[in-house]
Symmetry: C2
Subunit: 231 residues, 2 copies
DNA sequence: CGCGTGGTTGACACAGATCAACCAGAGTGG
DNA sequence: CCACTCTGGTTGATCTGTGTCAACCACGCG
């Protein structure tokens, strides 16, 4: 797993393909707040696996640049993406011994990784760190709960609207939405086929809700209408 | 919320409508291991709300007898049940300030409740308790991740098979499966309609995989076939 | 320039939803 | 003890949203 390009941690490595967001509240225990836990940088190419399902969960990751998907796979190829991880996001933190999903890079990606043992050791002495670990898992759980509602009960249009609003919140810069993932990834995230995703996006463009300039370059023109679809 | 029947905690209150399972690993911090946190018993009638979405999450609950569903509701009535909670299960534990789902009793139910503040205070002094809190949230997350795959990518038959195996694991006594929930609840858990659930169960009965004696009384006759359907 | 990957669009199929009728068992009250 | 009712469950007929299959398009790259 660690046969990756290792890069010495330099402060300005954070600038990458995607804009760097301000660090999330629950990634504060990572790097910044605790210099002793600075971690190592590693880079992965497009579609490269970062860790696999059932592998020992010895490291915790933070996206520095690029984008990561975590997913479950059935042997006949069906896939469910649980979450997309963008710069600033922490992923791969487990309470148990092994990872429950596979993580791979969607585009060329740099991550900062920290031994989980170090974090847990730090948590022994500092309740705030223990709390941050818990809060990180709790945030993932909240996302999963929202996503279960989407997958179980929402229509294709509602799902795509929810996706657009989520990505808008997380990676819009200057009114622009630059998606790192392909239509298949979006479909596997939303429990749809890539064709349905494409059709709904075209329909939303027709309706003037968004503008497409190149498949991955989206401008939201009417967030209110999108919020209306999102229920 | 606490205008419920309060019962003094007596040791043998644990025996109820449903058989009591051995306590789960991550409910150990509850009651048994820490006598100071014994908690209060409360009872709720069928379909009574235990707590609502967005209410302050001041208490943590353990099912003593009965069964609880936690769900999200859209204003047009669509509902997604995130989990069923059976005797021995802990639910309602949040890391943030408010509950993210609504909890209500499926049948007449008794729960033991503990102030969350007490648990967090105990966690300050005892790392094992802090770990148990984290592990509880992590277990919920694992369940949600598995359920996202089910909701996003599995067929009706696969979903029902998964449901039967889950319930079999959690509440079969003497080869018998006594479901506390109605077909609509099962549908809202699996992202299906109650009619589809009913049809699939009938089909499985036809195929000899299970026996139905009364809609809620199920005997699994071929777990291997069910596991095959579950992928 | 040709090729390959990713995206769009169309025609059609089908799993599961919807609508509706009917059925079974548990209370309830005469 | 039997009608009556009510809730929950089953089954059938039909509809529809999304999947499937296939053709085509557009851009980027060697």
């Amino acid at each position: 797993m660690l046969s990756r390009t290792m890069i010495a941690p330099t402060p300005d490595m954070r600038t990458g393909l995607l804009p760097t967001l301000p660090p999330k509240a629950d990634s504060r225990f990572f790097s910044t707040a605790h210099p002793g836990l600075l971690g190592t940088l590693a880079s992965y190419g497009k579609d490269e696996e970062i860790y696999g399902d059932d592998e020992p969960a010895d490291y915790v990751y933070e996206v520095v640049s690029g984008a990561v998907r975590t997913c479950k796979l059935l042997d006949d190829g069906r896939r469910q993406i649980g979450a997309f991880h963008l710069p600033g996001d922490v992923f791969g933190l487990e309470s148990g011994p092994a990872h429950r999903l596979t993580a791979d890079a969607i585009v060329d990606t740099t991550v900062r990784l920290v031994r989980r043992r170090s974090l847990e050791a730090a948590a022994q002495g500092d309740v705030r760190i223990a709390n941050a670990l818990w809060a990180t898992t709790a945030r993932d759980l909240r996302h999963a709960e929202d996503h279960m509602l989407l997958l179980g009960r929402k229509t294709a249009k509602e799902r795509v609207a929810a996706f657009l609003l989520e990505m808008d919140r997380r990676l819009t810069v200057a009114g622009m939405l630059d998606l790192p993932m392909c239509r298949r990834d979006i479909g596997d995230y939303l429990g749809l086929t890539l064709e349905t995703v494409s059709r709904v996006l075209s329909q939303l463009q027709q309706e003037g809700v968004l503008g497409l300039s190149g498949a991955r370059h989206i401008v939201l023109r009417n967030r209110q209408r999108l919020h209306g679809m999102n229920i």
